[in-house]
Every structure is written in C-alpha cells, then in structure tokens.
C-alpha cells in the first residue's frame, strides 16, 4: 500500500524543508518503488488541496491566523501529524518577537494583509492540535531525518535521557565555579568546556541527538533540540536549567552575569513557556 505524505509549512525560514530535501533520495527511492506518494507539498508540487494523507510533516510555527487554519485542516485530513523542526515543536526563534509589543512588530514589517494578520502570540503546533511525534532541531540533524524517512511514521525522537554535554568531547572541570559570563567568543580554548570558560552554553540541559555540532566548532549550544522533556513540558526544562546554572554561579554574579536570560534559556522554546507574556 502506498503511504500518502503531505508537507505543510507554516511560519518559518524554510530551512527545515531544505534539510528534508537533502535526504530526499531516500524518499525518492520509496516513491519509485511505489511505496510512497506525496499528495501535498507547497514546496514541490503545484497541488492546492488534497483529500487525505497518512502522514503530514508540519514545519514552522503558528504565527498567523492562516497558519492556525491550515494546521487544523492538516490535522483533520491526516493520520499522523509530525512536528518537524524546532519551530513546529517549541515555537522557535521568532517567538522571541513576542517579547516586544505587537504594534512594534507591525511597524517593522509594514502593512500586513488580513489573511496573514499576526496572532497575539506565536504558538507551537501542540498548543493548537495534537501532534503524534516531534523531530526537533534547527534544522533536525541528518541522521534523524534519514531514520524518519526510512521508517516512515516511526520517527526517532530526541533522546530525553541524554544531553548535549554527553556528546561533547570538551574537557570539563570537576569543581565548577563560574565567576562571570561573557558574550564574545575571542580567545576560546579548543579543548576546555565552554561554560567553564564563562561562555553561556546551554548544552547541559538540552537533549542530545545533534552530536554536539556547535560546541565542536567553538560555538556555544543554543538549545535548538529543546530541553530533555516532552515538547509540552519544555518550561520544566527551563526551570531545571535555571536551577543548574544558578547553582554553579558565584553568589555575587548571579544577577548581573546573564545579559539576556530569555535569549539564553528559551531561544527556541519561549512560545512553549507557560508563564510567558500575555496580551
């Protein structure tokens, strides 16, 4: 039997689609063998509508009224709905725009047509419809996409038991005491833990799966894989991360050291945080 696949894209940067296309040979093989069929994909096909799908891959977050309508329609028409990428799973980076006044967002983007009128706040997919599986990442790592396309409908999700630190090869000090955090990345020691060097890296709280890509190239982890929790419980991960970081900071630098707390703890997960700004 042919597996019918639909791709629905909401508000996002389309990086996830590109990542998906990178692994498309796998899917192409399945299509040629008659095992799968793409029924709807705005990126690939000129098809406006479809009857039903077995699996719908949703990328991007719910930013506009149109996004909300489309994801509800996708839910009705599909057997399994998969949140693909950090935006669909947690709300993503553009959720940080909610920290500003919505009027200010409108000013920056110019006149907005009614169809794409911004919602009061960015929402991850799970807030609006039920999701059957989630593949986080910005974009999701190649092996997770391959695994997902290979097994269709049974995606491997992030490993909640492990963190980026478990995959990171940097050397950590035993007794951690951080006397200050800095934002510039100059003069970084290649082998020592970034957090030990005072660079805010959130890898200690974030799910593994990416192979510690960023720390490998001397760049601190941003947390795109989300916290080691379900997609609906990301705020618990935030609280745990705050607790862990505060414990190793020196008492007198706790308040001043972190210049951008929301950007550090919730760069990708702010829309999933239950105590976020309400309008």
């Amino acid at each position: 039997m042919k597996v019918k696949i639909a791709l629905e894209w909401l508000s996002g940067c389309e990086g996830c689609e590109v990542a998906l296309l990178d692994s498309f040979n796998l899917l192409l093989g399945k299509i040629q063998r008659g095992e799968a069929e793409i029924v709807y994909a705005p990126l690939l096909l000129d098809v406006e509508d479809y009857d039903c799908a077995d699996t719908t891959i949703v990328t991007g977050s719910i930013r506009t009224a149109a996004d909300e309508r489309r994801v509800k329609k996708a839910r009705e028409k599909s057997g399994a709905l998969i949140a693909f990428g950090s935006c669909a799973c947690f709300g993503g980076i553009h959720g940080l725009a909610d920290l500003a006044d919505i009027g200010a967002v409108g000013e920056k983007t110019g006149r907005i047509p009614s169809e794409t009128r911004l919602k009061e706040a960015v929402d991850p997919v799970w807030r609006v419809v039920k999701t059957d599986a989630a593949i986080p990442g910005c974009p999701p790592p190649r092996h997770m996409i391959d695994n997902f396309l290979e097994n269709m409908l049974s995606p491997s999700t992030a490993d909640h038991g492990k963190t980026v630190c478990d995959e990171c090869l940097r050397r950590r000090s035993e007794d951690r005491k951080i006397t200050g955090l800095r934002r510039d990345l100059t003069g970084v020691d290649d082998s020592r833990c970034l957090l030990d060097q005072g660079i805010p890296c959130i890898g200690f709280a974030v799910s593994s799966g990416c192979g510690a890509l960023c720390p490998k190239v001397n760049y601190p982890c941003h947390g795109c894989m989300g916290f080691s929790e379900d997609i609906e419980g990301q705020d618990r991960g935030v609280a745990r991360a705050v607790s862990a970081l505060a414990s190793i900071l020196e008492p007198d630098v706790v308040e001043e050291s972190l210049k951008d707390p929301v950007g550090f703890f919730m760069k990708f997960t702010y829309p999933s945080f239950k105590l976020r700004r309400k309008r």
Binding site: S243, P251, L258, P261, F273, K274, L275
Partner: protein
C-alpha cells in the same frame, strides 16, 4: 480565597517560625498553604513554576538566615536559584514579585506573620 499563596518552609527555621506564630496565636491571613521541606535548598525553580501552573498567585519560600542553615549552604543555593529565576520570569513577562524569599528563624513567629501579611497585601495590588 484570593490571593492564594503556597509557602515552602524549611523544617528547622521557617516551619518552626510558622509553628511559633500559631502557638503564640498571632493573627495572619489564612490564604496560605504551608509545605514543610527538609531545607530551603530543596526548593527549586521547578517547584515555583509548577505552583504557578497549578494556579497559586504567590510563592513564598522561607528559610534560615544566611549562615544559619542546618545543612550549611542550602539557603544560599536557593537564594542564587530564586534570584536567577526571578530575572528570567521578569524578562519573560511574568511579574516576579509573585515569588518571594524570606529568612525567618525559629524564634521569629511575629516576623512570619508580618511577612505573610505584607505579601498578601502586595499580591492584592498586582493584577492577575
């Protein structure tokens, strides 16, 4: 009862202080639920978050005075965590005045009552 406050009191100071307030029959607002914890260091931002999600209007953490902790450093650990979490909450758009950390020793029943009274009054001023 509004505002509904949950208070985590450490066993050695805060809870004993609250107990003394009761024994001495000091009047204070009844809209408070007291939870006894082994040490204020047991209370983490996760407890605070879950309390707000459960519908409480305020969270009051009561521990021993700095230097008096039964476990030597539990209260300073909590102080650091609460400070950072308050900063995160403020920036995220949640009024951090709803979280309060106070030091009350076992002999300060009067102070405990005053803290509850003051906190209740303060919470009443913050729009829900």
């Amino acid at each position: 009862m509004k505002p509904w406050i949950i208070s985590f009191c450490c066993r050695y100071c805060g809870y004993a202080g609250a107990d003394l307030a009761g024994v001495a029959r000091i009047q204070y607002p009844p809209n408070i639920l007291i939870v006894k914890v082994p040490c204020s260091g047991r209370v983490t931002p996760l407890h605070v978050l879950e309390a707000f999600k459960a519908g409480f209007d305020g969270v009051l953490i009561v521990g021993c005075h700095p230097g008096d902790c039964h476990f030597t450093s539990g209260n300073t650990l909590t102080e650091k965590r609460v400070k950072l979490f308050k900063k995160v909450l403020d920036e995220a758009g949640f009024n951090s005045c709803r979280v309060r950390l106070e030091w009350v020793s076992a002999s300060e029943g009067r102070k405990f009552a005053e803290v509850v009274e003051e906190f209740t009054e303060e919470l009443g001023k913050i729009p829900v």
